[in-house]
């Protein structure tokens, strides 16, 4: 159905997409700075970069979701104005967002025709879409039930709906923003097969991902973004993961952290047959058992969405569960009044949550208020039985900020006025300074720059060396490999296996994360 346009475009050989000098600021944040990029037709172009580098912003501009402050867009060699997504769609661009843009209580079919209806009435549009859905399914193997409600199908299927939406609108250029983040490895493989098929048809694909393996596997060219700027564009065949990593963070990456061998002591945390069912009735943890001893770091690896977040949340008292958990031999409540974060803290559990902006900090609170968050009932912070001792707490906070190198070290600034890395240091300062028996850490360095990463890693290891137990959850395999004394891999709500960092490698962990146990296969 799109054959004619393919041949015509190949003949011109102009870049399918060319961006020149794109800049975009969100208030004080410069998300994109003078970015230029060319993507040739019929290729897969990768974009990598740290969290917050500006990848999504750039693609959203190309798709007309945001308006650039400056810059030009050329599609197939023609200068094109893209003031809104309608214009992008007309120019043959389709985008699958990092966070899907689907209407939960609409059917697949309704979502597909939304905005691309053929007339004032729905009936003919729906009939037509149903027909072409069957055709697309045949062509690409994208199977979904057109009458299913979005809220009733899994994320993998939802992503297919997004891709179908783009194809239904006859997209020639397809942008995928971190499509594999939510997919199981099998689903990811399937997605890549579809992308290869699309490429063979002459479509142009832009793929945003954090995973170097995916870049190396499927892209033709790759661009690297850092802090809103485009730092390099290279042919995939002429680069290596190491080089890309270096380009991404701006200097040589230390893949290892200096640390002494662990001297594990007594068991601190014991988890047995932990189960969690979420609000939608989906079982997220399907019987987790693990233990963490004093003076060791247990790293939990896994693709996002396999239950690691829920594990941390249960241990941190943020959601109820069933099973047994004990701290230093004493069991803790998993439901009811005594299962909240404050009870956990009183039992010596500190928690650096995965999402510092929405969980770890109150962005509108001053730093000093944030530095007692969760511990505000502590007698140390009270002036008397009724009132809190604000000035004393502020002074304490200033000292903590000094020790954790929070910049600027002013406790009266609100949390939102610190950069991401410094916000994370605030959380760490609060949790580590409490000298807990067990520290739960989720994604400690997400969106944090390399200097801060090193500092944070050092603090975590220092705590370990002080004889504390640490449970680390991270999607960054490098971080897991370099910090952990033992590694547990989670898949689909279960622990797939445990390995020692010295006796494993990324390939084996990757397989485990994909739900494949190399030992039993």
């Amino acid at each position: 159905m799109q054959g004619g346009r393919v041949t015509e475009r190949r003949a011109t050989a102009a870049p399918a997409i060319e961006l020149r000098g794109i800049s975009k600021a969100f208030g004080p944040v410069q998300a994109n700075k003078d970015i230029s990029i060319r993507v040739m037709p019929g290729t897969i172009h990768g974009i990598i970069g740290e969290n917050g580098a500006g990848k999504s912003t750039l693609m959203s501009i190309l798709y007309g979701f945001y308006k650039a402050d400056a810059g030009e867009i050329f599609i197939n060699g023609q200068k094109t104005q893209i003031p809104d997504s309608q214009a992008a769609i007309r120019a043959g661009i389709g985008m699958v967002f990092q966070h899907f843009k689907l209407v939960q209580n609409f059917t697949v079919l309704e979502n597909i025709i939304l905005g691309a209806e053929d007339g004032g009435l729905l009936k003919p549009s729906l009939a037509k879409a149903r027909k072409s859905l069957i055709a697309l399914e045949k062509e690409y193997g994208l199977k979904v039930d057109p009458d299913a409600l979005i809220e009733e199908i899994g994320v993998g299927k939802q992503q297919r709906v997004e891709i179908l939406k783009a194809l239904y609108r006859q997209a020639e250029i397809l942008i995928l923003d971190e499509p594999t983040g939510v997919l199981t490895p099998a689903e990811a493989d399937q997605l890549f097969r579809i992308l290869a098929r699309l490429k063979a048809e002459g479509k142009t694909i832009i793929l945003i991902t954090h995973k170097l393996r995916e870049i190396m596997e499927i892209t033709d060219t790759v661009s690297v973004m850092r802090r809103g700027e485009m730092t390099a564009t290279v042919k995939t065949s002429q680069t290596s993961p190491e080089e890309l990593a270096e380009l991404m963070v701006g200097r040589k990456v230390l893949l290892r952290v200096d640390k002494a061998p662990a001297k594990p002591g007594a068991e601190v945390l014991l988890v047995d047959d932990l189960r969690v069912t979420d609000e939608d009735g989906v079982e997220r943890l399907k019987g987790i058992s693990l233990k963490v001893r004093a003076g060791e770091i247990l790293g939990v690896a896994g693709v996002a969405g396999n239950g690691q977040s829920e594990l941390l949340e249960v241990l941190g008292g943020m959601r109820p569960a069933t099973g047994q958990v004990s701290i230093k031999g004493e069991s803790i409540d998993l439901t009811g009044k005594r299962s909240d974060g404050q009870s956990r803290r009183s039992r010596g559990i500190a928690h650096v949550p995965e999402d510092r902006q929405h969980e770890g900090l109150i962005m509108d609170f001053a730093a000093w208020e944030n530095l007692i968050f969760g511990y505000h009932h502590d007698p140390e912070y009270q002036a008397n039985r009724l009132l809190m001792d604000n000035s004393d707490v502020t002074q304490l906070a200033a000292r903590k900020m000094e020790r954790f190198d929070v910049r600027p070290p002013n406790p009266r600034l609100t949390a939102k006025s610190f950069s991401g890395g410094n916000q994370q240091k605030l959380v760490l300062a609060r949790e580590i300074e409490r000298n807990p028996d067990l520290l739960l850490v989720g994604q400690p360095t997400r969106g944090v720059d390399i200097g801060a990463i090193e500092f944070i890693h050092k603090q975590i290891i220092a705590l370990r060396d002080a004889g504390k137990a640490i449970l680390l959850v991270s999607v960054e395999l490098d971080e897991i490999m370099s910090l952990s004394d033992r590694i547990a891999v989670m898949f689909d709500g279960r622990i797939m296996g445990e390995r020692l960092p010295s006796q494993t490698d990324q390939t084996e962990l990757g397989l485990l994360m994909a739900g494949i146990d190399p030992d039993t296969d």
Binding site: F26, G27, Y63, G64, F65, Y66, D84, S85, Q86, A87, A88, I89, M95, F97, K101, L102, V103, Q104, N105, F106, E110, N111, I113, L114, G115, A116, E117, G119, G120, L121, L122, K123, S125, K165
Partner: protein, 321 residues
């Protein structure tokens, strides 16, 4: 209760349900598009005054209706400006609009008519008069159906029939047209609409404007059909009962009809019977008056099926923080 009394109560139910129904459908359009509207009351009140005032001045009820609609839509525009363009709090905006209408109507009425905040009484062509449907008189002799047709179906004013016609129309627009699909989508997930290349702002303004239109008709009905002129605060909480009915109906057009008829019936009963004596047990009139609100709280509490509002409801659409 004998048959005639029943018919009369039902007849009165239809009359009293009409403004509730129109306002409820107005809220339905707005809230389905993600804009909460607790300003139904104010818009109706504004329309009641301006329709009565203009109908009085021109002697033409249709001009009055237009003026009522225009004034109600002006308030809609303020609500849109506040909650769509400037992403303000929709609830606060609604509260402000209710006060604005309560104040402006009286201030202007006093300034124009000097009658203590009311309009002079309307007569003849400056009011909506009852329409006799064909054959109503001649069929009234037919047992059962005759009186029902004559008393209940026939003999209402134009806005009453318009309100009842608006129910299937609303259903059809929402569920059978492109506009309806987009409108519902924008109330559930505005980003889905935005990324499909359709203007969120445009859709929401359209929805709010329709709400203004319907509230305008509701207000005009109060001022020029149910009543012969405007009196201060004449909506008397009907906007909030309509809101209650909207929740009661879980944002669905046909259910809105049933809910408003139920609430209309409660009002009709409360009007007629001060206290209802159920053989020793007396239901005070105050209880009947409060019943719509009590029922709504019960529904909201989720004891009788949960009322889930449109997911994006109440949230301004913010792309860039």
């Amino acid at each position: 209760m004998d048959f005639t009394t029943l018919l009369l109560v039902l007849d009165s139910t239809v009359r009293l349900a009409t403004p509730l129904l129109l306002a409820c459908l107005a809220g339905l359009f707005s809230e389905r598009a993600g804009i909460f509207d607790i300003g139904l009351e104010g818009k109706m009140l504004m329309a009641a005054f301006f329709s009565a005032a203009v109908a009085y001045a021109t002697g033409n009820v249709w001009l009055g209706l237009l003026a009522g609609i225009a004034s109600s839509m002006a308030l809609s525009a303020i609500h849109g400006l506040a909650s769509i363009t400037f992403r303000g709090n929709q609830l606060i905006s609604g509260v402000a609009i209710n006060f604005l209408a309560a104040g402006v109507t009286v201030v202007v009425a006093q300034s124009w008519f000097r009658q203590g905040g009311r309009t002079p009484s309307l007569e003849g062509a400056s009011r909506f008069n009852p329409i006799e449907l064909p054959l109503a008189e001649s069929l009234s002799g037919v047992p059962l159906l005759g009186p029902i047709y004559h008393e209940l179906v026939s003999g209402h004013t134009v806005p009453v029939y318009a309100a009842f016609a608006a129910v299937p129309l609303t259903w059809w627009i929402l569920f059978r047209t492109r506009f309806g699909l987009r409108l519902r989508a924008v109330g559930e997930n505005p980003e889905s609409v935005d990324t499909a290349g359709v203007s969120v702002i445009g859709l929401r303004f359209a929805a709010v404007a329709i709400a203004g239109l319907l509230c305008g008709i509701a207000g005009a009905y109060l001022g020029t059909a149910l009543q012969a002129g405007f009196v201060k605060d004449m909506t008397a909480g009907r906007g909030f009962i309509a809101l209650a009915a909207l929740i009661f109906s879980k944002w669905r057009p046909w259910h809105a009809l049933y809910a408003t008829l139920l609430f209309g019936l409660l009002q009709a009963i409360a009007v007629r019977f001060q206290n209802i004596d159920l053989g020793g047990f007396v239901i005070p009139v105050q209880f009947m008056e409060a019943l719509p609100y009590i029922l709504t709280v019960v529904i909201l509490a989720g004891f009788v099926g949960k009322a889930i509002p449109p997911r994006a409801g109440g949230e301004p659409y913010v792309k860039e923080r």
